[in-house]
Amino acid sequence: MNDLGQLFRDATVGEPPDHLDLVTVVRVGGNRRRRRRATTVVAASLATAAVVALGTAVVARTPDTASTPATDGTTGPVITLGDAVPAVEGTDYRVLTTRESDATGDERFVGVTDDGLGVVMHAGMARKDVTPIGLVDPADGTTRWLPGGPQRIDDTATIALGEDRLVFQESRWSARQPAVRVFDRRTETWSTISWPDLPRAQLYYPTVHGGRLYLALDIQPSNDGFDLWSVSLDDSADVRDEHRPVLGSLDVTGDELTWTDGSSGEAARVHVRDLSTGEERSVDPHLGEGCGVVSMVRVGDRLLLGQVCGGHDDRLQVVTMDGHPVVTVDDAKVGANIGDGGRVAVVAGGEGGPYVLDPVTGELWQVGSRMALWSSPEPVPDGSDFALWTTTDWFPDGGPGPVEPGPDDDPTYTDHLVEWLS
């Protein structure tokens, strides 16, 4: 017995006979295949009818767009935050480092780079429209402030934190003058880029992949959705209409661009484009009746869809990229905003939070006993063990959760950079 593989093989010796019935497998599997084919036809007909009925300039899907609805229409297991189990520090997670901030400033985390460094802004100075940016080594907690001094960037709009460059919205980012501030990590220099040929429109969901910034533009405000465009981060003349409607949210994970095409009350579908081949497919996530997607994050082969149902009831639905239901967290306190990246997601805050969900196993943890904020999730590397959350000692009188502090309040916030272990 000289290795673990041999131990495993020995442990499975003497396998008792199984009772697997291949006839049943073929019958049930065949039924699922036929049901899926039928659902595809119905869905395609409905989608076509919807496009015609809207009478908008929605661009038709390419002919190779495949439709892959779920094999059944259930939500999978439905849980609430009350089903969460307590997380144990040191076993389920480890706090790598923290940052404190109060009314006078100090530091706060705005994300984690792809190579695992925390990114901090000076919270106090950010309110003055300029802020220094620093990189935090989680190994020793030290901050190295980047050269170039305070930058004029939006303190709530981190776009991409790559190994080669850091991309932030410029503080004057607007429909009339969209621009991003870029820090080149090799040369350690800052630059600004904007795109004169980009249509003047409100911009949403900026996300970076392969040197391009993808944006949803509200070119036709009377319509329910946006149009997908992309621009180069290196060439201000490189502006591209991607000819795709986007109604909910978009996300880039690996080589795939994922976006939703439904709005509140509509049966949204999720579309996926392989950015290297251009091939597209779509998934029916089987939203609840009257539920609209307000946020979407992709983690590996899982889709996390934050939804508002009936105007006030929030829920988070997790499905595979084949549309199979994984788990639904149905709770008014679950967040419509979901942290970007990470193999686990912070899905709710409030008293006793944060709550952390593993979208692969469906496990839900309650991390703390303090008040936690979750409404401004910051990016961490896709699929990594990192998580970020904020706790506060401030409890507003009579309120169920944190609200904006008044002028006489002096709350202290603690940002936690965490490695998730379980």
Partner: protein, 180 residues
């Protein structure tokens, strides 16, 4: 049924007959129960057959089946609403050989596996029983390669700690509950 459909079904049955035993052993290491392992394999093969035309065209039938087994195991565990408590872990990377040198009892091994978090258990089984590399394991679990590395390291460290800090009798006692 057309001749073409007959041929496809025959090809699937041949595949299922050849793969079922190995898939069941993988499922057993994940769930610790032969009957439940059979259920996971049956569900996995149903998913394979539902996608058989595409798999025949594109290949990768065994990889898809393996992924379906792990998915069926995780789905079943979720439905049971169980949550296993791992022991205190040491993130020091341990090799499979380190663990093997301390384990000589099959029941103790299965008990220790049962105490690992499900994701760590899947990583260890896929790496050391299915002999998948990090990239292949990440594809099965739908996660990053770095996650596979860290989860495997933690799983191995936990196994090593369990066998170093607890008696075999204790591990077997803890392992009497069924895995999800």
């Amino acid at each position: 049924m057309t001749e073409r459909a007959d041929a496809a079904e025959e090809a699937f049955v041949d595949f299922a007959a050849a793969a079922r035993s190995r898939l069941r052993r993988t499922a057993y290491l994940l769930c610790g129960d032969w009957d439940r392992a059979s259920d996971h394999v049956q569900e996995a093969l149903i998913r394979v057959y539902a996608n058989w035309p595409r798999l025949e065209r594109q290949g990768g039938e065994l990889a898809y089946a393996r992924r379906a087994v792990v998915s069926a195991f995780l789905d079943a565990a979720r439905r049971r609403s169980s949550h296993e408590r791992p022991v205190e872990t040491d993130t020091t990377v341990a090799s499979g050989e380190d663990v093997a040198s301390t384990v000589t009892d099959r029941a103790a091994l299965m008990a220790a596996l049962a105490r690992l978090p499900r994701r760590q258990r899947a990583c260890v089984v896929l790496r050391y029983f299915e002999d998948l590399d990090v990239r292949e394991t990440a594809a099965v679990l739908g996660c990053r390669e770095g996650t596979v590395k860290s989860q495997t390291a933690r799983g191995l460290a936990s196994l090593r700690d369990m066998f170093e800090s607890a008696s075999t009798d204790e591990l077997v006692h803890h392992g009497t509950r069924r895995n999800p």
